[in-house]
Assembly symmetry: C2
Homo-oligomer: 320 residues x 2
């Protein structure tokens, strides 16, 4: 698949930060950034720029805040080529004042994550970013729980009231099937005549990569992935698979493969991500992965950790 | 998705046996069989019935041969309901004489695995099975390497010369994308007017389940899966995902989930299967996973194990 409009976006450090409170070492972030620049990835999201009134710096690592001086340490000395640098703001956990004017920042793009209900906050933050000189996106989380009428209205507002470059379908719960992706992409494209559509998938049902391909076929051009799928719960669409699939000669898979071996796989000693039965159950039942994450944290010798049918029943009752 | 013609086939013990020389304990096989009967799976493939002249019983466990008395031990005392029992014969490693008349056997179905080039051997074994009273299938392995003209001829022969119930697309290398599945399913259905088409996927690119769904949408009715994806290399389409997707009320996911927690996950201490970068590379390059399996077996402290870009180069050169 070769389409020059396609933008591959890596969010390893940002989404992976949901598994370790954004406590990656500087060396890890430097290696990820340099390797992905070398691979020709279009955009690298290096963390959140969320508010310190919502997250205590005592409890969270630097990539939850992405202070300008910290970001500079991570990217310093790297030939970034045409790769852009992004940070994410959560609509309900970030403030406009944390975004300095673009001329003073190495960051190129602000991605605003939001639930449908918080779309007004998201629009405000996105407009703050574009007014200050950045590219911006709005990423609609938990889309599998969005009420149709509210989503339609939000998309209409986003089209009319913002200058974002792309609006994302975010399958936070890994609950979408390919037919759902088709349906949502069609809806986004109908409302967003002047914006691109993006896709961000989670892998609860091992459909993260397949659903991203489905979106590509339907002309979605902003594609999120992470190295070895590192991300919340079952993780994300693996970036290495996406780069293996796309035929644009500007991408080089070699630095992607090597940083996985050198820097990402060793993280498995501290963090557990990827497909598992508790996550699969929450995906099938279109539920938030938080209960599954709790189950995964039980001691291995606790029998409840392995009684998956009971967990399924408990989750199914909550979903009713 | 509810279509009464759909047959869900579990091949955990058979395909998983490629990772441990078919050395599962009797207790493991008993638990898998009883749990899958309770879940309403249509067909359970319990191993190979291959020839002892091709495989030494000194080196391989009982599920490489599936002697009638051994199979009886595994299934004894279980209320099988409408679930059928299958064994597999490799076209180039099995003999007709190992199949006893159906009246003397608890086995219901013989599945014959073959490369396109061995289709005449496969037809002979399939006809031997149907003549002796069994249902039979022919499963065309390594389909991503099949030459178009030879495949066309093989399908024509299978349609004309056999009474099998289904002919399978087997993506041994985990190399197919959904468009390839579409193309092959179309071809199979054009040639096989009197047989069903089946799909058996491997997960090198995390597409095993997605490609199985794609096949379902294209009216494929024989669907292979394994518990937690247990199978060669990156494994198979996970049965639990398939059962989670299909809406036929005859399926019960609870016994599937519980046998995974009780019996399948503990096998991870002895066997390593599932997605990994070496398998991903062989899938992307449409190569046999044997080289990747060798790399995976290196000691963890051997740096070559993690130098994935070098491995990619080596594999890419072989593929040229």
């Amino acid at each position: 698949m070769y389409r020059p409009q396609i933008k591959v976006v890596d969010c390893t450090i940002r989404d992976g930060g949901l598994m370790n409170d954004s406590k990656f070492s500087l060396e890890t972030v430097q290696d990820v950034y340099a390797s992905l620049c070398a691979s020709g990835v279009d955009i690298i999201e290096i963390g959140y720029r969320n508010s310190k009134t919502h997250f205590s710096p005592k409890d969270y690592g630097p990539w939850r805040f992405c202070d300008e001086d910290m970001v500079r340490k991570a990217v310093d000395g790297v030939d970034k080529g045409s790769t852009k640098l992004a940070v994410m703001q959560d609509a309900h956990k970030a403030v406009a004042e944390d975004i300095i004017p673009k001329e003073e920042s190495v960051v190129d793009m602000i991605r605003v994550a939001t639930y449908v209900k918080d779309v007004d906050k998201a629009i405000k933050l996105a407009n703050n970013a574009t007014d200050k000189g950045y590219e911006a996106t709005i990423n609609i989380m938990a889309i599998s729980h969005a009420l149709e009428r509210e989503l339609d209205e939000a998309l209409q507002q986003i089209e009319q009231e913002t200058k974002i470059v792309a609006c994302y379908i975010v399958d936070s719960f890994g609950a979408l099937y390919s037919e759902d992706v088709d349906y949502l992409v069609g809806k986004f494209q109908r409302y967003l005549k002047t914006k691109e559509t993006g896709i961000h998938c989670h892998n609860q049902q091992q459909l993260g990569y397949a659903n991203t391909i489905e979106a590509i076929i339907k002309n979605v051009n902003y594609l999120d992935g992470t190295l070895y799928g590192l991300g919340r719960a079952a993780g994300n669409c693996p970036l290495e698979l996406l780069i293996g699939f796309l035929k644009n000669p500007k991408f080089d898979i070699h630095p992607v493969l090597d940083v996985i071996g050198r820097t990402i796989l060793p993280l498995r000693k501290e963090m557990e991500w990827g497909y598992s039965i508790p996550y699969m159950i929450s995906g099938v039942l279109n539920a938030h992965p938080s209960e599954a994450m709790k189950l995964m944290k039980l001691d291995d010798d606790n029998p409840a950790k392995w009684e998956f049918a009971k967990f399924y029943e408990r989750m199914a009752e909550q979903a009713d």
